[in-house]
């Protein structure tokens, strides 16, 4: 929250920071562009294409995510059908959401999470948010693994339950995952204290 230089030991990636800032700016430009001037979006598409080819952005991944957006835009188009200018409006929704998706995919494809977090540190995002993001990246895979182990243990030790039991069993497992996650957070905190962590470095 303050502009003081961040603590030593945490990485601050200026190149990632530039990428994040340019992507966010570009997405805002694409998303807030006047709908009547939609032909100018061709410029942003050209820029994205020239950046995507050297970055080797896999088109299949972008298209798979974009399919969901196109479905959503189709539903919105049905809602807009009564108006006279609905093709422009619905087309803009489709175009803007797809181009923004492309821009964000490019950022994430070219920059891993750790670099994104250090870029956000360089941009002086409040420390609590960058650190929560970093912890998310660290512990998401741990919890996913924990969940896989819970499922495996359940399958090894119980019969296949019926439909109604399946629901409560899954909810119990999720509750158990919460308890383990909470205990893990406490362990992590104690370990951090043991290594000399302080709130304000």
């Amino acid at each position: 929250m303050d502009a003081a230089p961040p603590p030593p030991g945490l990485t601050h990636d200026r190149r990632a920071a530039w990428r994040i800032a340019l992507t966010v700016l570009g997405v805002f430009l694409i998303a807030l562009w006047p709908p009547a001037l939609w032909r100018w979006q061709g410029v942003s598409a050209a820029v994205l294409l020239t950046l995507s080819i050297p970055a080797r952005l896999p088109p299949g991944r972008v298209l798979r995510r974009a399919a969901v957006l196109w479905l959503f835009a189709g539903v919105m188009a049905i809602g807009l059908a009564g108006r006279s200018d609905w093709p422009v409006r619905a087309g803009n929704l489709l175009l803007k959401s797809t181009l923004s998706l492309w821009a964000v995919s490019l950022l994430v494809h070219s920059t891993p999470l750790a670099e994104l977090v250090s870029g956000l540190r360089w941009l002086r995002l409040p420390r609590v948010w960058t650190e929560i993001l970093a912890f998310w990246g660290r512990y998401y895979s741990v919890l996913a693994e924990e969940w896989r182990r819970l499922e495996l243990a359940r399958r090894a030790r119980t019969f296949e339950p019926n439909q109604r039991r399946a629901f409560t069993r899954l909810a119990n497992a999720l509750g158990l995952l919460f308890i383990r996650a909470y205990e893990r957070a406490e362990q992590v905190h104690r370990a951090m204290l043991a290594r000399g962590y302080r709130e304000r470095p």
Binding site: V128, I132, A181
Partner: protein, 315 residues
């Protein structure tokens, strides 16, 4: 329910960012006061838990499956402030890493799911807990709260889409609320079942609000948060500015006092319009922002003067 990029216009995006930012800054202060330096590991691991919980597919009746949203689940177990921060982290991750929901609409998505959904749901939960104090009320309260949270979030989302002019309100509002009233039943069942298990096994983990020692907040931050919140309200509600005469004007009309507003216009912004701004929404939003800033400035000045006067007078 994640709004993609391009569905909202500038005033809705910015208004939602201001309002969500102000709420989250307030939440951050509360969380910091309660958990001190445990905040970062706890919220980091908990946002990972909410994310993992959203991945689990529950079999719902009729062969369909649904997943948890987790706002009220986290709110019941960690408190609303921590839950809104954890959910915002999940939204940021979904927006950037999984391209689910847009960057420009991130403020709106956080406002719907992490602020309105979580705080609205937790309000319902607290009301029910206040009536009955046995452990069963925790499960019942979290079920009802989960349903309300989903419906409230969908209603806010529909209002934002309507306010941005993307979809007509009379179509999108009922459609969103009706579909989410059904989705909310699934959310309520899952939340109640998970909370029920945690209450059975570790009842000490359920969040109970307690009075905390007041934390002194720098006045600059209070001003920033207050101003951001006021600007957000002004920007989001500006499409509702009425062109109908207000109460004073109506009384004047009924009494036959036609105010001479055509020839000499003494008001700085007559009829809520800025000279020079051509677009209507831009005009209304600009007036809303200017009015907010003006009222804020006048209020600030009055408080400063009052404070000085109070300090000077003998106790």
């Amino acid at each position: 329910m994640h709004i993609p990029d391009g569905y909202l216009d500038a005033k809705t995006c910015l208004g939602a960012y201001c309002l969500a930012g102000a709420s989250l800054a307030w939440a951050g202060r509360n969380v910091g006061a309660r958990w001190n330096e445990r905040t970062i590991p706890l919220l980091g691991v908990m946002s990972a838990f909410v994310f993992a919980g959203q991945m689990v597919n529950f079999p719902v009746a009729g062969g369909t499956s649904g997943h948890l949203l987790g706002g009220v689940l986290a709110g019941v177990l960690l408190g609303p402030a921590a839950a809104s921060m954890a959910l915002t982290t999940v939204l940021v991750v979904q927006c950037f890493l999984f391209q689910d929901g847009g960057i420009s609409a991130l403020g709106a998505n956080a406002l719907n799911l992490a602020v309105v959904g979580v705080f609205g749901g937790c309000l319902v939960y607290r009301l029910i807990r206040r009536c009955r104090r046995d452990p069963r009320s925790i499960v019942l309260g979290s079920a009802l709260a989960a349903w309300f949270s989903v419906v409230l979030a969908s209603a806010t989302c529909a209002l934002e889409l309507a306010g941005a002019g993307t979809a007509p309100a009379r179509l999108v509002l009922p459609a969103m609320i009706l579909t989410h009233a059904v989705i909310g039943v699934g959310e309520a069942l899952i939340t109640a079942a998970v909370v029920g298990f945690v209450v059975k096994v570790r009842p000490d983990l359920v969040y109970e609000p307690r009075t905390l020692a007041p934390v002194s907040t720098p006045i600059k931050r209070v001003v920033m948060v207050g101003l951001a919140g006021a600007l957000g309200v002004a920007l989001l509600l500006s499409p509702l500015a009425s062109t109908l005469p207000d109460g004073f004007e109506r009384v004047a009309q009924q009494l036959g006092l036609t105010l001479q507003t055509h020839g000499t216009n003494l008001a700085p912004m007559p009829g809520y319009s800025v000279p020079g701004a051509s677009r209507t929404w831009l005009m209304t939003s600009a007036v809303a922002v200017l009015g907010t800033l003006l009222c804020f400035g006048v209020g600030w000045l009055l408080v400063r003067l009052a404070a000085r006067w109070l300090r000077r007078s003998p106790p």
